[in-house]
């Protein structure tokens, strides 16, 4: 019974961590834009995700982590790829996203519906990480 309550508490902690990560990401993006370091304002939000990308830690609902670039112009594929690659290169962030229940990374511009998506678990190297 005690373990059950601990698990419930942990679930609430995970949810809280997920909100905190999104809040920190958006706050840092706004700060970079306001200070002039970034020419493009980006924000992240949770979306439905791709059910084909599910993994063991996936949440039941809303498993997509979408980064939306608010640049005022349509971003080309290279820009979107670049943002996606930089996020995927950050192993700690990818593993944290996987752990908090996200399974799909989506990168979108703000003008059209065109976007790119990646399967997060393919970039997490979790097995390698536990083994080290």
């Amino acid at each position: 019974m005690w373990q059950f309550l601990e698990d419930i508490k942990e679930w609430f902690n995970d949810t809280s961590d997920a909100f905190k990560l999104q809040r920190d990401f958006n706050k840092a993006a706004r700060l970079a834009f306001v200070s002039g370091n970034a020419s493009t304002l980006i924000e992240c939000k949770t979306t439905r995700g791709d059910k084909n990308y599910k993994h063991q830690f996936s949440s039941y609902l809303n498993t997509g982590f979408r980064v939306k670039a608010l640049s005022g112009k349509p971003l080309n594929t290279e820009d979107l790829k670049n943002i996606g690659r930089i996020i995927l290169d950050n192993q700690s962030l990818v593993r944290r996203l996987v752990m908090l229940g996200w399974d799909t990374l989506e990168v979108h511009g703000d003008v059209d519906n065109y976007g790119l998506k990646w399967k997060l678990i393919d970039h997490a190297n979790i097995g390698q990480f536990i083994g080290s």
Partner: protein, 140 residues
């Protein structure tokens, strides 16, 4: 004697009547719906709990190995690393140092490979920029 036999027959009838009521109740399919729903809820609860337990064990194992994420560094990587990478790639290309000494060519090779490896790490690229300025005498 006559009264006793009448009383016994009444008891027997009552018991038979009660039994038949329970049987009727169990034969009614509507009774099984709440029972079935209850069973399904309990089973789903047990499955979900076991999954949660298994996940949390793995999560703890992974969480112990994860460093804190610096979001400001991430924003620098997203916004500034591409430009710096392009600069370093051009200025520190080993082909530009073919006429220099072997030592400088070796440094140029090292820096170029490091730049390619860390193309999205802004802080690392800044370090490499300093290194290039010192060792290869490149001006940015």
């Amino acid at each position: 004697m006559n009264n006793d036999s009448i009383k016994n027959s009444i008891k027997t009838y009552t018991m038979k009547n009660e039994k038949s009521k329970i049987e009727n109740l169990l034969q009614n399919p509507i009774v099984y719906i709440p029972l079935g729903l209850g069973f399904m809820v309990v089973t789903a609860g047990i499955i979900a709990y076991n999954k949660l337990k298994k996940q949390s064990k793995l999560k703890r194992e992974i969480n112990n190995n994860i460093d804190d994420i610096n979001m400001n560094d991430l924003m620098n990587n997203i916004n500034k690393s591409s430009e710096l990478y392009e600069q370093l790639k051009r200025r520190c290309h080993p082909d530009r140092f073919t006429t220099k000494s072997d030592e400088i060519q070796k440094y140029a090779d090292e820096i170029a490979s490091e730049v390619a490896k860390n193309r999205s790490d802004y802080n690392k690229l800044l370090e490499l920029k300093d290194k290039a300025e010192r060792l290869l005498n490149v001006k940015f």
